[in-house]
Structures are given as structure tokens and as C-alpha cells.
């Protein structure tokens, strides 16, 4: 099958899944009575008298299918409702908070990939030696750590014990004023990148100081996951015939490990990038909550505890669409990396 036909076919296959996702999400909102859903439109006690009017206006007591149709029409035009926490429409709120979260991901993702892959393959190369056992224990520990608790410990030590060294939040108050002043141009609303583009050292330093702890908290679980996977993948790769050939040719062990074994061991790691994305998406909610880091995860948490259901569902829908797309890209990438994979058929 040609790559283009494959992509088109996969895109078509997304339609039933996404349809199901919207149906499921809408089903959740229908757990609420029309009155409860009408309340979402109320912003002032004085408007309460008009509750039946609101139900009438938005057709909240109509049959399920009709309401679903209306709702789907709204969602397709990026209308998810209004976020009380952000005081703006849900769709705008997502874009408003996204850059902060992207900033976390920009730092966490390379850390996860580099440390995870390097430590995993090194452990495999030293199988059953002390280094291997240490890496293994570290991986299992990291995998078992409650990240929310790790975050609290980090704050206790690096903000409490070393007074104010690595503070929570996104920027300190002075730098926040600088960033919001007219001289500072917000190209991306990602603080570190904007600081570099504006050639503003203090803002960059301050932003980095606020990023250290959340990035660590966000990365730990995924580093452990990749490390573990890379170790077993590398072990498998090291047992293959081409490694024996490479060694028999008299290649240096370093070359055998780096050029022959590790490259082939990377393939399974690529296939789990989807899981890493999901791990980051889940982790962002917890991390941003602990560090009071106002990104999309913090907003989702605020909405959840304030039972702002349209925001939470908008956030869930947004994430599922992203997740499905990431998995599609991963599958396509996989066929590029591993020539044995025939499109749409898996490994022969």
C-alpha cells in the first residue's frame, strides 16, 4: 500500500472513533438535568428567575438526538461553552493556557527521551552488573513514585529549606510586570522563548528557575518508563545475529553498542511515544496543580473541583483528539523507521 493511501485510510478510520468520543462526552453532560445545565449559563443571581427561559432558548429539554446534533454542530465550530474559571469561552481558554503547558513539555520531552534512552541502553549493555541493578531499581522507584508527593517534597526542600531558591508559579512578580509591559513583545507566550527573542536575560533566568521543579516532576515517571522499555529492547537487540557479526568483524564495543545495537533497539521505543504523550497529558494536570503553574492542566483541575463541567469535557475532548492524532503520526513514523513493516499489516 502506498503511504498516501494509508494515511487517507487511517484518517477515515478516525471518524468513527471521534464520533464515538463526542457521543460519549455528550452522554456525560446528559447525566445532568436540564435545570443543572441551564445553570451553566447563569452568571448573576438576578438571572435565576429566567431559568425556564434559558432551558427554552437552548432547547435543553429536547430529545437526546436533537440536542446531540445541536451540540455537535457547536463543537465542530469550536464552540465548547463558557469557562467560569478563565472568564472566557472554553476554546479560547484552551489556547490561552496552552503555551504555558507547551513550555513544560518542550523541556520535559527531550529530558525523557535522552535520559531514558541513554540509561536504558547503558543498563542493558552492562546486564547483571551493579550498574544494571541500580538503573533497574531507579526505574522501578520512579515508576512507583506518586508524582504529586514528589512535587510536595521538591517544594519542601528547594523552596522551603533553600528559602525561595526554586519557587512555584510561572514567573516572579517583578518579571510578570516586565513580561506584561509594552516593551516586551509576546511572540509565543512561551516565556523562555519570548525572553530569548526579546534578548531579556533576567526574564529568561526567572522563567527557568520556575521551570526546574515542575519539569523534574513531570519527567520522572516517563523517564522510568522509557528506561525500562529501552533496557529490554536493547537486550533483545544485543542477542541478535548482526551483533555477533559486528563483534566478529572486530568492531570496537562502543561502535557495536552505539551504531548497531542501540539504533535497532530504538524502534519499539518510537511506538510508545503515544503512551508518553498520554503520560505527559495526565502528568500535566497533577504537576501544574502542585506548582500553581497556570497552564492547561491547572485550568482543568480548577474547572474540575469547581464542577465547571463544560470546561472539563472540552479539555477531555481536546486531549483525546490530540492523542488520536499523535498515535496516527506514531504509526506513520513507525513504517518509515522499520522497513519490515508493511503498511496496514504490522511486522511480517
Amino acid at each position: 500500500m502506498e503511504l498516501r493511501t494509508y494515511i487517507i485510510r487511517r484518517l477515515f478510520l478516525l471518524i468513527p472513533v471521534l464520533f464515538g468520543v463526542t457521543l460519549f462526552i455528550f452522554g456525560i453532560t446528559m447525566l445532568f438535568s436540564p435545570v443543572q445545565r441551564a445553570m451553566l449559563y447563569i452568571r448573576d443571581v438576578k438571572q435565576l428567575a429566567d431559568l425556564p427561559g434559558v432551558i427554552e432558548l437552548y432547547g435543553l429539554d429536547r430529545p437526546f438526538v436533537l440536542q446531540y446534533g445541536t451540540w455537535l454542530g457547536q463543537v465542530l465550530t469550536a464552540n465548547f461553552g463558557y469557562s467560569k474559571i478563565a472568564s472566557m469561552p472554553v476554546w479560547e481558554a484552551i489556547w490561552h493556557y496552552l503555551p504555558a503547558t507547551l513550555e513544560l513539555a518542550i523541556f520535559a520531552a527531550p529530558l525523557i527521551i535522552l535520559i531514558g534512552i541513554f540509561m536504558g541502553s547503558t543498563a542493558a549493555a552492562h546486564k547483571d552488573k551493579p550498574l544494571d541493578h541500580t538503573t533497574r531499581v531507579v526505574a522501578i522507584l520512579g515508576w512507583s513514585l506518586p508524582t504529586f508527593w514528589l512535587g510536595l517534597l521538591l517544594i519542601m526542600i528547594f523552596y522551603g529549606y533553600f528559602t525561595g531558591f526554586l519557587p512555584p508559579g510561572r514567573l516572579s512578580m517583578q518579571m510578570d510586570i516586565v513580561v506584561n509591559s509594552a516593551d516586551f513583545i509576546r511572540y509565543t507566550r512561551i516565556n523562555t522563548i519570548d525572553a530569548i527573542l526579546n534578548l531579556n536575560g533576567p526574564v529568561l533566568l526567572d522563567a527557568l528557575r520556575h521551570l526546574v521543579l515542575p519539569v523534574i516532576t513531570l519527567s520522572v515517571v516517563n523517564v522510568a518508563f522509557i528506561m525500562r522499555l529501552m533496557r529490554s529492547s536493547m537486550l533483545e537487540s544485543l542477542g541478535k545475529g548482526y551483533i555477533l557479526t559486528a563483534r566478529a568483524k572486530g568492531l570496537a564495543e562502543r561502535v557495536v553498542i552505539n551504531k548497531h545495537a542501540r539504533r535497532n533497539a530504538l524502534i519499539p521505543v518510537i511506538t510508545v511515544s503515544g503512551y508518553v504523550f498520554a503520560g505527559l497529558a495526565n502528568g500535566v494536570v497533577i504537576t501544574e496543580t502542585i506548582f500553581n503553574y497556570k497552564g492547561i492542566g491547572w485550568w482543568a483541575w480548577q474547572s474540575a473541583v469547581n464542577l465547571d463541567i463544560s470546561s472539563v469535557l472540552g479539555f477531555a475532548l481536546f486531549n483525546s483528539v490530540l492523542f488520536v492524532l499523535v498515535n496516527l503520526v506514531v504509526d506513520i513514523l513507525y513504517t518509515r523507521v522499520d522497513p519490515r513493516v508493511k503498511l496496514g499489516q504490522g511486522v511480517q
Binding site: 456525560i28 522551603g160 474540575a304 464542577l307 472539563v312
Partner: protein
């Protein structure tokens, strides 16, 4: 049978898995003996609610009456941690039990009958798997109202699809075996073939994976409780006790680590509980991973 002996020998040989097993056994003992280790005070109605010593907000350090100290609102940390083991097992067993049941029923139907039934069930799992798990759980909990029951419902909803898929895959292999054909030839009904012949030969990998997921379920439940979406205030729940500590991460100037006992203790219980299951699971995965053949 030799498989079981092999597995047992591998586990006994591996110090990490033995450590895991010991940790799990200790937690089982704590959970069973909770009423003896941390007796419920006289006249206290629900033993799962942590007794309080007053209503003062600031946590108090370990003392004779409170060996681990008290957390925000004077809830006894020792009592909460011990009874928290019971809550943890309860949540995990309920969630794993129900997800297994759903997973096994739907997975067997899909795997055994194939065709349109398989297609429909697998597309439904696709929908559930299209969400990052914690985010879906969070959405469900906030929709049906935060409570421990909601947490269990939400975790069940996000957990069953992976078991359904696992068991379906194993059944696809088993149903082609000759003995299945034979029992069908003898006129056995589909239900009988599935329950008596297919499942017993396909179920073990799923059962083992599910039991090792106990740690992961407890970790997710703790995360939801920490986010304020779980147990009611004062319930013996490690996640919630960690959440109490959020206001006390940093002590007064001059003594920044003053409230360490409120922050560290409940988290340590979660860590060790999950660690026990993961240590055991790690060894199992090595034993069952066909790519790392028995050398």
C-alpha cells in the same frame, strides 16, 4: 505445571521480586490487623473516618497519643495510614474485580464470535482508549460528583478496555485449537465452550496482569483524591492525607521543615504499596517476556 515451578523458582531467585512480595505481605497484614494496630476509639461510628483530636488547623508533631503526629484539622496520621491500607485494598479489589468481569465477558464475546460483534466491541474500546486515562477519569468524576464511589466508577471505566483487548487476543489463539473444535463437534453450546474450554486456557495472562495492576489502581485513586476529587474529608485515604499536607509544605521562617511528618508519612505509604506490586510485576514481566527467552 512445570511452568509454575519455573515461575516460582525465578521469583525466589530474584531479590527484587522477593522484596516486592514481602512488602505486599506486610501491607496485607496491616490491612487485616488494622483494628488491632490502630484501634478505633470508643463511640466512633465509622472506623474508616479518621478520629480527630480537636479542630485546630495546624499539624502537630509526633507525640505519645499520636505516634506519627496529626495533620491539618488534627486528623491522626498513624490511624489514617494504617486504615488507609484497608481503603487501598478495597478500592483496588473492587476496581480490578469489576474491570476483570467486564473485560472477560466482552473480550470473550469479541474473541470467540469475531465478525460484527468483535468489530463493535473493539470500536467501543477504541473510544475509551482515545483519552489519556487520568483525564477521562477526572472528567467522569467531576460529572457524577466527587466521592470514593465515583473514583471507583471512573477507574473502572478507564481500566476495562485493556483487559478486554488482552483476553480477546489470547482467545483468538485458543479458539483455533483442536480440542475446541472437538467440543463443538460434540454439540456443546457456545456458552459452555467458552466457559469450560476457551477461558480456562486463555485467562491466566490477563489474571496475572490484573492482579499486578493493584498498585497502579491505588496510585491513580490516590492521584484523584489528591486533586480533591475522591474520598470525603477525613476518610482514611493516603491520597487525601497528602492533599492535606499541601498547605504545610513550607514551615515558618527559621524552621522550614517544621511539618515534615505531615508531608512525608502518607506519601511513603503510597510509595511502598505501589513499589511492592511493581517490584513483583517487574520480575513477572521478565519471566513472561517471550523476547527475552529463557537463557
Amino acid at each position: 505445571m512445570s511452568d509454575w515451578k519455573f515461575t516460582a523458582r525465578q521469583l525466589a531467585k530474584n531479590p527484587l521480586s522477593m522484596t516486592g512480595l514481602i512488602i505486599i505481605v506486610i501491607f496485607v497484614i496491616i490491612a487485616i490487623l488494622a483494628p488491632l494496630i490502630a484501634p478505633t476509639p470508643e463511640g466512633h461510628r465509622n472506623p474508616y473516618m479518621i478520629p480527630r483530636d480537636g479542630f485546630f488547623a495546624t499539624p502537630q508533631p509526633p507525640s505519645e497519643n499520636h505516634p506519627f503526629g496529626t495533620t491539618q484539622g488534627q486528623y491522626d496520621i498513624f490511624y489514617g495510614c494504617i486504615w488507609g491500607a484497608r481503603s487501598a485494598f478495597r478500592v483496588a479489589l473492587v476496581v480490578i474485580g469489576i474491570t476483570l468481569l467486564i473485560g472477560i465477558v466482552l473480550g470473550s464475546l469479541a474473541g470467540y464470535f469475531g465478525g460484527i460483534i468483535d468489530e463493535v466491541i473493539m470500536r467501543i474500546t477504541d473510544i475509551f482508549l482515545a483519552f489519556p486515562a487520568l483525564i477521562l477519569a477526572m472528567a467522569i468524576v467531576s460529572a457524577i460528583g466527587p466521592s470514593l464511589k465515583s473514583v471507583m466508577i471512573a477507574l473502572t471505566a478507564v481500566w476495562w478496555p485493556s483487559y478486554a483487548r488482552l483476553i480477546r487476543g489470547d482467545i483468538l489463539q485458543v479458539r483455533e485449537e483442536d480440542y475446541i473444535e472437538a467440543s463443538r463437534g460434540l454439540g456443546a453450546s457456545s456458552g459452555r465452550v467458552i466457559i469450560r474450554h476457551v477461558l480456562p486456557n486463555a485467562i491466566y495472562p490477563t489474571l496475572i496482569m490484573a492482579s499486578l495492576d493493584i498498585g497502579a489502581v491505588v496510585l491513580s485513586a490516590a492521584a484523584l483524591s489528591f486533586l480533591g476529587l475522591g474520598a470525603p474529608e477525613g476518610y482514611a485515604d493516603w491520597g487525601q492525607m497528602t492533599e492535606f499536607a499541601r498547605n504545610w509544605m513550607v514551615g515558618p521562617p527559621g524552621n522550614p521543615l517544621k511539618y515534615w511528618y505531615a508531608v512525608i508519612t502518607p506519601g511513603l505509604f503510597i510509595l511502598f504499596f505501589v513499589l511492592g506490586w511493581n517490584l513483583l510485576g517487574d520480575a513477572f514481566r521478565d519471566i513472561f517476556d517471550p523476547r527475552l527467552a529463557r537463557r
